[in-house]
């Protein structure tokens, strides 16, 4: 068990920066997920924690120890790779016990640890098999077992589920969460899948272009994104962004967001003070699809109704996605299947402005 701390970590490959100055504190027993698009530096960061890449500058601490110059084997970490990396010539038992055998653990203890880990992962029946006799999901479990038996200070996961099919991925996601609840080891998990990040993490670290965009709890990054990137990256379908102008109605009318000549929304009371200094500017209006819903009876405060001509209607079963255009920008809404209109029809919709975001297009910061 240990904390992990990164202090201004930089990594450049042939002068190309992969990680451009990262500060991150991970507490003991915490499950932190690094998430971001390909090439954002998340895997490189993980590999630097593992010791598989050397940091160009900055400091990495595991526990209280500065580990920049400590080889991987002495960092007391365990890593699960994207493509499993099982030793093909060894049985599952041998794969899982390899690290312990190298460290010359007594045989009875090795046996106990492997069997214990196998029980946690439900792979006791597979201990005698070789990797090629296993399915993808089973291989992934063995890879996790190899990490668990070592009882390391830190678990590192490098996109462990991206090679699995969709159904298995969801199942293994739950497994990983269960395992972490049982073993409670500090975990750093890398993924490009924002749903994986949201479901697994105690804290999510959203990365982009070698930098951290935002660190926060899953709810935090979802509901209070700090940048346009985070707002757009977290959540599926992605947040709608519509160019707008913040208009000050002077006096009683208050602030309003003008999306097009025909469509304007009043800014909810609670946000007026926050947005007032930006009045008159061209901004970006952000609203998640689930905040664009069908009209249901009385309008609570902070909601505004409008009519939209539907372009595309996608039934998903428990909900239906409706797409329409506002001033040249496609907007997605999430409505009750019973209330959804057909493509080409005009449908009354409601925007929940209590969850709206305004983004400065110059700085990409959420205001």
């Amino acid at each position: 068990m240990a904390e992990v701390a990164l202090r201004n970590i930089v990594k450049t490959f042939d002068r190309t920066p992969a990680v451009a100055g990262i500060d991150l504190d991970i507490s003991d027993r915490e499950f932190v997920v690094l998430v971001g698009p390909s090439g954002c530096g998340k895997t490189t960061t993980l590999r630097m924690i593992a010791g598989l890449e050397e940091a160009t500058s900055g400091e990495i601490y595991i526990g209280d120890q500065l580990v920049n110059d400590v080889p991987p084997k002495d960092r007391d970490i365990a890593m699960v790779f994207q493509n499993y990396a099982l030793y093909p010539h060894m049985t599952v038992y041998e794969n899982m016990s390899f690290g312990l055998r190298l460290k010359k653990f007594p045989k009875p203890e090795i046996k106990e640890r492997v069997e214990n880990a196998a029980r946690i992962l439900d792979i006791t029946d597979l201990l005698g098999r070789r990797p090629k006799q296993l399915s993808g999901g089973q291989r992934q479990r063995v890879a996790m077992g190899r990490a668990i038996v070592r009882n390391p200070k830190v678990f590192l996961f490098d996109e462990p589920l991206s090679n699995l099919d969709a159904k298995l991925r969801v199942q293994m996601r739950t497994e990983i969460k269960k395992v972490h609840q049982k073993v409670t080891t500090t975990t750093v998990y890398v993924t490009h899948d924002q749903i994986e990040a949201m479901t697994l993490a105690d804290r999510v670290v959203v990365m982009n272009g070698g930098k951290i965009e935002q660190i926060g709890t899953p709810n935090d990054v979802y509901h209070h994104p700090k940048t346009r990137f985070v707002a757009g990256f977290i959540g599926s379908p992605a947040m709608n962004f519509i160019p707008c102008r913040l208009v000050d109605g002077n006096g009683t009318a208050g602030l309003s967001v003008k999306l097009s000549d025909k469509l304007s929304f009043p800014v909810p009371e609670a946000r007026v003070a926050r947005y007032r200094p930006q009045a008159g500017r061209d901004l970006l209006f952000g609203l998640r699809p689930e905040d664009v819903i069908e009209k249901r009876g009385e309008l609570p405060p902070g909601r505004a109704t409008f009519e939209a001509q539907l372009d595309v209607v996608e039934p998903m079963g428990m909900e239906t996605m409706v797409y329409f255009v506002v001033d040249g920008t496609e907007v997605c809404g999430r409505v009750n299947p019973a209330a959804a209109g057909k493509a080409g029809e005009t449908m009354p919709l409601v925007a929940d402005l209590n969850h709206m975001h305004l983004i400065d297009p110059k700085t990409d910061q959420v205001l």
Binding site: A50, N83, Y84, A85, L86, Y87, P88, H89, K132, R150
Partner: protein, 304 residues
């Protein structure tokens, strides 16, 4: 009329298509058998002829009879040869040279290939190419400079290197190491990088990664290299002919030729017997190692 033609056309079309894949496969199979049999006949003819001749007396070999048939089979050639101390010396020298060369080569080339394939140090790429280029220099060009080097060493240290069977242990690796290293680089490079990283994190040092992960995983490649190496050191003719002369220092290929051909007298029966006996060890080694030659050992290591 038009309808009838159309029907015939369809029927014929259907007949051609039906089972055409199976038929195509069959035809391909026939042709492969044809060429395989042709090759087998072509390549088995010399050993069969050797075997037939080895069972004949000198008189029968010289007689005008069907050369592909033995009328009075005898094992005298085998008895004569195996009771000659000289022949057994050749055999012993050959065996010692081959085993030593295989050991030296495998140690050197596995270590070299591992470092060239995995430890990306400055100039490793150039070195790997260099290793291969040395293999391209024919041995017939190398033995004269080697003579010079031996003479130089003799002048410098007083150690006589020429006319000792063991000098071949130093000479053959010049042929075997580059090729085996090249084969092994290819094999090691095909092992996923994550495998050594996993081992590194599990606590293995580079030597342990090599011995406990790379060698077992690359075993098919190592066996291929071993077979090549053994064949070269067992059958090489030029170097022992050039560097060894005394009868007690000769290895099998040169020994048979120099002792069984006296002037223009060819003892064909014994030459054939010697050649056949000489060919036995590589055959046995092939048969033995082929059992361990399990291709596709990396299956299951990573996402397939």
């Amino acid at each position: 009329m038009t309808t009838a033609t159309a029907q015939v056309g369809t029927a014929r079309h259907g007949a051609v298509r039906y089972g055409s894949i199976a038929r195509g496969q069959k035809r391909a199979l026939y042709w492969s058998y044809f060429f395989l049999i042709l090759f087998v006949i072509f390549f088995l003819m010399p050993p069969v002829y050797m075997f037939i001749t080895s069972l004949k007396t000198s008189a029968e070999i010289g007689a005008v009879t069907n050369p592909w048939w033995v009328y009075h089979p005898t094992l005298q050639n085998y008895i004569d040869l195996l009771s000659q101390a000289q022949f057994l010396t050749f055999f012993k020298n050959s065996a010692l040279v081959a085993v030593s060369v295989v050991s030296v080569t495998m140690v050197v080339s596995i270590l070299a290939a591992f470092s060239l394939a995995r430890m990306k140090f400055w100039g490793s790429g150039m070195l790997a190419t260099g290793v291969f280029l040395t293999y391209l220099i024919p041995e017939s060009l190398l033995f004269i400079p080697l003579f010079k080097i031996f003479a130089f060493i003799h002048d410098l240290t007083g150690i006589e290197l020429i006319n000792h069977w063991w000098v071949l242990i130093f000479l053959y690796p010049t042929l075997t190491v580059p090729f085996c290293t090249w084969i092994m680089i290819g094999y090691f490079a095909s092992i996923p990088k994550e495998l050594d990283e996993a081992a590194l994190i599990d606590g293995a040092g580079y030597l342990q990664i090599l011995t406990r992960v790379f060698i077992p995983v690359a075993l098919p490649g190592i066996i291929a290299a071993t077979i090549f190496c053994f064949t070269v050191s067992w059958a090489n003719f030029l170097y022992p002919l050039a560097f060894t002369t005394s009868a007690d220092q000769l290895v099998l290929p040169v020994g048979i030729v120099t002792t069984l051909i006296k002037g223009d007298v060819y003892n064909w029966g014994q030459i054939m017997t010697g050649a056949l006996l000489g060919a036995a060890p590589p055959l046995i080694i092939y048969a033995f190692l082929m059992d361990y030659y399990i291709a596709g050992l990396t299956a299951g290591a990573t996402k397939g």
